[in-house]
């Protein structure tokens, strides 16, 4: 059992709140026409995303998915450059080249989100290979969805990591659906974590709405990786509150009762709020945290709006890195 002190609880809440408010804001701006692109939000999955500072260090890296707004935030990225990216601005973290499906921040170890489902697993595996070869004790964290667990890259990556004992933690955010298809119809097993058996690595399924449970499972896996004991698979059962892509696509594939249930009973922020109260925080303290985040959001919107668009020539830059080669 990992002890979580008040500072850490506060920081966890703050990051969850940042993700939630960021997503609420982006959805609003999208529907108002100020943002554009294929837009997959993480609302509802905040706990599952969160890897606060004790589990993951700044030099550790992570790779995300198309549903990626939350991931760099969870790792500590600045909101303003993320939001500027969603507006396609020059100050955006990808200089306007990536947008919603590619939010990244290499400065804090977010190696970018990749929107081809399953394509990030080999990349995260390769980062871990580099760490192992160099002998530093970094860990590579790899996010992917339930849908992605059916891609061949899942299999190949887990096998590679296992035979090479790589410091990588595979976190499957099982939100029950890949686009409109239920995980039940697409995946041959109930718990994806059982697939770890096929790679002789630990596999565990946790309640993805319980941030402390996720934190514990991931911390254990990260410690194991850092010790040189190899990879793990952690599955978090979670839910996305919004539709697959905001403002697009039909919603007939799941019942409104189901959505309602998760929104009201299984909201990770509300559940964690509860925990904080039980742990002796008062409402005011929590309000203060939220208020600080709201200020950050307001500033981020301002920053993004004021930022210049990239000049037309920018379409041609970054095809290659500058190189002596």
């Amino acid at each position: 059992m990992i002890t979580v002190d008040d500072d850490l609880l506060r920081e966890m809440y703050r990051r969850m709140s940042r993700i939630r408010k960021f997503e609420d804001t982006t959805k609003e701006l999208l529907l108002a026409g100020e943002l554009y692109g294929a837009f997959h939000t993480s609302t509802g999955q905040e706990s599952s995303i969160l890897k606060t500072r004790n589990a993951l260090r700044i030099h550790d890296s992570m790779v995300g998915t198309h549903r990626s707004h939350g991931h760099p935030i969870g790792k500590g990225a600045q909101l303003d450059r993320l939001l500027a990216e969603l507006m396609g601005k020059e100050t955006g973290v990808n200089q306007g080249k990536g947008g919603s499906m590619h939010l990244s921040d290499f400065s804090i170890g977010s190696l970018g989100e990749t929107s081809i489902v399953g394509s990030g697993l080999p990349v995260a595996t390769g980062a871990a290979l580099a760490y192992k070869m160099r002998g530093d004790d970094n860990v590579s964290l790899c996010f992917f969805g339930d849908g992605a667990s059916n891609q061949g890259t899942f299999h190949e990556s887990l096998n590679l990591a296992a035979i090479w004992k790589l410091p990588v933690v595979y976190v499957c955010e099982n939100n029950g659906y890949g686009e409109l298809t239920s995980a039940k119809d697409a995946i041959s097993v109930e718990d994806i974590s059982i697939r770890a058996v096929g790679y002789d690595m630990p596999g565990v399924t946790v309640d993805g709405q319980d941030v402390l449970a996720v934190f514990e499972a991931v911390s254990e896996a990260v410690d194991r990786a850092r010790r040189g004991d190899g990879p793990s698979l952690v599955e978090t059962k979670t839910y996305r509150f919004e539709n697959h892509a905001v403002g697009r696509l039909p919603e007939h594939y799941r019942s409104s009762e189901e959505v309602e249930y998760w929104r009201t009973e299984r909201d990770p922020l509300a559940l964690f709020h509860q925990v904080l109260i039980e742990r002796g925080f008062d409402e005011q303290q929590i309000d203060d945290l939220d208020a600080a985040v709201s200020e950050e959001i307001v500033a981020a919107i301002e920053f993004a709006r004021q930022s210049p668009a990239p000049p037309p020539e920018a379409a041609f830059t970054h095809l290659f890195s500058p190189s002596a080669g």
């Binding site: 554009y36 692109g37 294929a38 990216e85 396609g88 947008g99 929107s115 399953g118 059916n150 697409a186």
Partner: protein
């Protein structure tokens, strides 16, 4: 005659062929949910066995389509968005394109891959490719890019009935466009280009959605006194080089408008064919209006910088006339 949208035409083609032949079925991600709006009514008519949702396992289900085809089914595999074919690339190349040849004709591969292309809509580099040129390098595949509702229906039906693999590149900029489609049976044979507008000064060959730009450019050029003949390529492989060569023999000038990246493009191939077999007709260089050899950015304005448009076609055509 009825006015039908491109996407409706696609749905009609699938519906009619599934009604006609029990061995036809469709599979792909969320097809039974009609996620893209192009499978309206299918699951209600044919059920979830023949309108089959797949897991996100492109290599697996594309290859399964090949296997099903080899034993007599006629699968339509929905790729959702064309670049997802990269994930299944080996199955497409090593199995689908090569089996008939390698097995000395024993294998038949009546499989149709539907590959809708989204570009110009801020989906960024991974989602915006128009990969018909990539696949043109692979013998054994028929590649089509119908550009009207009429052809969307008639060519898709021909593709489904073809005993060979056909990849149909549907330009989503055309999905919403409507025009006349005859009632009743409609089959448009593969391998034939269509002259969409006759002209005498310059031949403009368009690929996929570039037809819209080509026709608009021809209109503008006409007002400047330049008569452009606009040819909609429609079928990339086999390529109807005769129609192009005949047109160039008449006009003496060639411009190809192709939304894909320039290097190795269909535009380049057409140019090479004419430079080899129609050289003596040429009175001017062959112009290609394509996307430069760089990726699609997310930012909407940057993306516009790169893509072909009417102005670029008009300017290049004008230059050829000098």
């Amino acid at each position: 005659m009825r006015t039908v949208s491109y996407i409706q035409a696609v749905t009609e083609a699938m519906t009619e062929e599934m009604e006609r032949d029990e061995s036809v079925f469709i599979m792909g991600e969320d097809v039974a949910w009609n996620m893209m709006g192009d499978c309206t009514g299918l699951v209600e008519k044919f059920g979830t066995e023949r309108v089959r949702n797949t897991p996100i396992s492109e290599a697996g289900f594309v290859g399964a389509g090949a296997g099903a085809a080899m034993v007599g089914m006629r699968p339509i595999v929905h790729m959702l968005i064309a670049p997802f074919m990269y994930v299944a690339f080996d199955q497409i190349v090593s199995i689908i394109a090569k089996s008939t040849y390698t097995y000395g004709g024993q294998a038949r591969l009546p499989i149709t891959l539907r590959a809708p292309m989204m570009y110009g809509v801020s989906n960024a580099a991974q989602h915006s490719d128009r990969p018909y040129a990539t696949l043109m390098t692979i013998p054994g595949l028929k590649l089509i890019a119908p550009a009207t509702p009429h052809d969307a229906k008639g060519m898709l039906k021909a593709a489904i009935r073809d005993d060979n693999p056909v990849i149909t590149f549907e330009d989503r900029s055309l999905w919403g466009q409507s025009s006349e489609v005859p009632d009743g049976e409609l089959i448009v044979p593969l391998g034939q280009a269509a002259v969409r507008r006759e002209g005498t000064d310059v031949t403009v060959v368009t690929v996929a959605g570039a037809i819209t730009l080509g026709l608009a450019a021809a209109e503008q050029l006409a007002s400047e006194g330049v008569s452009a003949e606009v040819i909609d390529l429609r079928s990339i492989v086999p390529m109807d080089t005769d129609t192009i060569l005949e047109s160039v023999a008449k006009t003496g000038r060639l411009l190809i408008a192709d939304p894909a990246h320039e290097m190795g493009s269909v535009a380049s191939e057409i140019s090479a064919v004419v430079a080899q077999h129609g050289f003596w007709s040429l009175q001017a260089p062959i112009a290609r209006v394509t996307t430069p050899h760089t990726h699609m950015p997310f930012n909407a304005d940057l993306e516009k910088v790169l893509l072909p448009n009417t102005d670029k076609i008009v300017a290049e055509a004008r230059a050829l006339m000098e």
